[in-house]
Amino acid sequence: MSKKIVIEPVTRIEGHGKVTIILNEKGNVDRARLHVTQVRGFEKFCEGRLFWEMPVITPRICGICPVSHHLAAAKAGDAILGIKLTPTAERLRRLLHMAQLVQSHALHFFHLASPDLLFGFDADPAKRNVMGLISEVPEIAKKGVKLRGFGQRIIEMLGDKKVHPNAAIPGGMNRALQPEQRQEIMEGIDGVIDDCQFAIDLFRDYCTKNPELMTSFADFKSAYLGLIDDKGNVEYYDGKLRLKDRDGITEEDGLDPADYLSIIEEKVEDWSYLKFPYYKKMGYPGGMYRVGPLGRLNVADGMSTPLADKELQSFKKLSGNGVVQGSLYYHYARLIEMLNAAEEIKSLVEDELICAKDIWTGSSQINEQGIGVIEAPRGTLFHHYWVDRGGKMRRANLIVATGNNNLAMNRAVYDVAREFIHDGNVTEGMLNRVEVAIRCYDPCLSCSSHALGHMPLEITIHEPDMRVRQVLRS
């Protein structure tokens, strides 16, 4: 006899994203913190595994941006093998990477950010979400789905699955692109580029209508970090690190990403499991830096493709020194990148050599360490592996994209909270705005703390003695 047990209601207890606000005696904001709980043991779990498995294991950190981990792990594996990729393998890796950039940025803009922008931060939450988008402006929602679908389809072509593909392996790729697949991409890409341009125009329209908001919402200075190519363009797959300080002065340039530890250190705070990377030279917390779309566009001089480059030059004019600091500008930067990635896809598949068969380089070497660095949609991602002579993992250190932004996200939350809490009173709309601020950074808290789960936002407001004054939940 079948056992039918219905429980209602059941509560899924998740607690991975939480904000704590601590007031001072006057009832104003003293400190604000974004907490992330942690999943333990990832490094331990990797010990004894073969480095060949890492491109398959590490994507399981996250179901949102697994391809970034997949690629960074393969790159670290390339370094352990001491090989150089064949031109075809590199093209295919880049194609995979650009496809995931398009789909990730499309998901974020169309489904997460655009409701805030289209309906206003204070619009009824019941409408200010993707459902509202689908009801009010279904054509925009559909564009998002189409862009995402296009990116996913390329990922599936290269790796058999749309999420957690098996495509990149240490040494190269495990399959070539077929001519009919190339054809399919070429048929869809112009429409995709048009849709990316549409999104940028939409956002520019928003900036024009809300000029003060753009420069007053969570607007603060920070340093910026990103990979650039030898022409100073934004580079997502390879490249060298450049860091600009809070006034736009280039402090580090041409740094081999494998040497990241020479400029970056991670601080541990006892109230969050997510570590706080900072630029060593400027100390902690002054060495706060931002990565991701805003970070990349701010450190670069140009974009590798014509339409995106034109947009970047307009973007840079928003600020006197070409460094644009307001948190909301993350959205604009994200869209310019999406366009850049779409144009790059076109350029990669236009060359029929993308279907060549030389996709892997072998080696009998096993180096003691390998570092794979890549610009994931959310920022610079570092995979650092140490292996023994048999290729078994001894240790892994991952600095995940969102982790780089930890200090900045906390600062954004602090700035917003300060504006909305006075004399112990929380103004209507604070919860919304804290969420909007966090959304700018498109955080992947799963990755950053190696945790999994949903994240309803909970904000707890404390008296100076830490007694709970108020709890707000989204």
Binding site: S2, V6, V10, V39, R60, G63, K162, M455
Partner: protein, 158 residues
């Protein structure tokens, strides 16, 4: 009637992998061509493309409850677990009910109308391991049996 059996979970997060393991066992036991068995380690909108084109879907997943017993199995509708919210700070917020709602609005007629979730009660997964805890491991054959029964039950009973 095309049915999708979807095991959701992360097989390197201990008990969270129960859905994936159940799906793997079911795949070996089911030969009906109208039934597709799939295991995935994704959530949210990534599910959309996977679930289109089916009339019925059976999901197997882990669930953390306040008062339940680890190893218990619940048969639920997605809306009983969380209301469709569409509201999120991160893509991780798009729970199953929300994904279904979005799918039905964007692709009417292509998303399964009938969705049943078999949720196995677990603790919060905080340890990276491929091993499940004992109570959850013992629940595996039962959840497999329940899903097989569900798949073959005639329409009237459902």
């Amino acid at each position: 009637m095309k049915t999708l059996i979807l095991g959701i979970g992360n097989s390197i997060l201990g008990d969270d992998g129960i859905g994936v393991r159940a799906a793997q066992e079911l795949a070996a036991k089911i030969s009906d061509r109208n039934v597709t068995v799939c295991d995935v380690c994704v959530d949210g909108l990534n599910l959309l493309e996977i679930i289109t084109g089916y009339d019925r879907m059976i999901v197997i997943d882990s669930i953390v409850t306040e008062n339940g017993e680890v190893g218990e199995i619940y048969r639920l509708r997605p809306e009983q677990i969380y209301p469709p919210s569409g509201f999120s700070v991160s893509p991780h917020h798009f729970n199953l009910a929300t994904t279904l709602e979005i799918g039905r609005r964007l692709f009417p007629g292509e998303i399964p109308e009938e969705v049943t979730v078999f949720a196995v009660d677990t603790e919060e997964a905080t340890e990276v391991t491929e091993e499940m805890t004992e109570k959850v491991r013992l629940a595996l054959p039962e959840v497999v049996r329940l899903v097989l029964e569900e798949v073959s039950a005639p329409l009237a009973k459902r």
